[in-house]
């Protein structure tokens, strides 16, 4: 699973940047064509739901999604063999 923000719905309120325990959402800087700064994702593969949803077979955490007033946050299935950035956490 991977996180995705719907650019048509997001209004750039940045509430998601405050509620994620991993601080995955970061305030965006570039305005999109609607004049909204969509938040950037910082190593989204750390998200509990991205990692464990398919293993547990149910939604996990999901606080960002419930909080997002504009229904802009979703998870999508990954394509097979999607390239990943290798992140080493100490």
């Amino acid at each position: 699973m991977k996180l995705s923000i719907d650019e048509n719905r997001c209004k750039g309120c940045n509430l998601c940047t405050k509620v994620c325990p991993y601080k995955i959402f970061r305030e965006g800087k570039k305005l999109n064509r609607k004049g909204v700064a969509i938040p950037e994702l910082d190593r989204p593969e750390r998200c509990t739901n991205c990692r464990l949803r398919n293993l547990y077979g149910r939604q996990l955490c999901g606080v960002c999604q419930l909080t997002c007033p504009d229904q802009a946050i979703h998870w999508v299935e990954e394509e097979p063999y999607e390239p990943h950035k290798v992140a080493i956490e100490y």
């Binding site: 048509n8 719905r9 940045n14 509430l15 419930l66 909080t67 007033p69």
Partner: protein
């Protein structure tokens, strides 16, 4: 997300201002509704007039977007005609406590089987920020330019005193707790009332020193006092700060109800 399918995707994005918490409350309510295993054909969302009351327009089931303050009157009608239906009402502090105040207390008294989610932004958001019966003392609105001098209603105490079977209060910050409270409300026969304190950056926040959306959400978070903690403070004769409000499940009882599913 499973509650996704309750939204009218073609109507999104909704018209709420950036950072308005009403959308969060719709999410939490639908997440609870989705867990009930209800059929969409048997579920009706009802509302009055206001920003908050636009909510049913974004939901796939049949709905009634009625006249200002009359959501509960219409919802009562639905329940009386079709007791097997699941009725959920979205309303605002102005819609429910000002113009709809009498419908509110009598719906509680009759203990009609429905769940009411009140988005309390403590102001008339839609019409440009007039004070409402829940505007806290000292707060600025377009009709209280020197600070509200009147004491506000405590909607939860009102609902409890009037006879509702289930009463809870949360804020737009407490998404998981709110989802659970709405679910208990949906499960409880009789009148269930869930008050949600919510940020309205456009009409309330702007005038009341919450320049950033998050400032108001932080305020809601830091000024909410869990009921258990409040009760402990009262037991120990400690002082409960005036600017704090109680959150949690405030009333749960089993008074005789009407309109309960056959």
């Amino acid at each position: 997300m499973s509650y996704d399918e309750w939204f009218r995707e073609d109507r999104l994005p909704h018209i709420y201002c950036a950072g308005c918490g009403n959308g969060t409350i719709i999410n939490c309510t639908l997440a609870a509704v989705d867990q009930m295993g209800w059929k969409k054909e048997d579920t009706v969302f009802v509302s009055g007039i206001g920003c908050s009351s636009r909510a049913p327009g974004y939901i796939l089931t049949d709905s009634l977007h009625t006249t200002h303050g009359r959501a509960l009157a219409f919802a009562t009608g639905v329940k009386m005609a079709k007791p097997a239906f699941n009725v959920v009402v979205f309303t605002g502090d102005g819609d429910m406590a000002a113009i709809g105040g009498n419908h509110f207390i009598h719906a509680c008294r009759r203990n009609i089987d429905m769940t009411v989610v009140c988005m309390n932004n403590q102001i008339y958001g839609m019409t440009g920020g007039q004070g409402s019966p829940t505007t806290p003392r000292g707060c600025l609105s377009s009709t209280t330019p020197f600070g509200c001098a009147e004491p506000p209603f405590d909607l939860c105490e009102l609902a409890t005193a009037a006879g509702a079977n289930y009463v809870a209060r949360w804020t737009s910050y407490h998404v998981k707790e709110l989802e659970k409270a709405v679910k208990v409300g949906l499960e409880t026969p009789g009148f269930s009332f869930i008050e949600v304190l919510v940020q309205c950056p456009t009409a309330f926040g702007r005038r009341n020193k919450f320049r950033q959306v998050m400032d108001h959400v932080e305020f809601l978070k830091s000024h909410s006092l869990l009921k258990a903690k409040r009760d402990r403070m009262l037991d120990n004769h400690e002082h409960v700060p005036e600017d704090m409000f109680v959150v949690g499940e405030l009333t749960k009882r089993n008074r005789p109800a009407i309109g309960v599913k056959p």
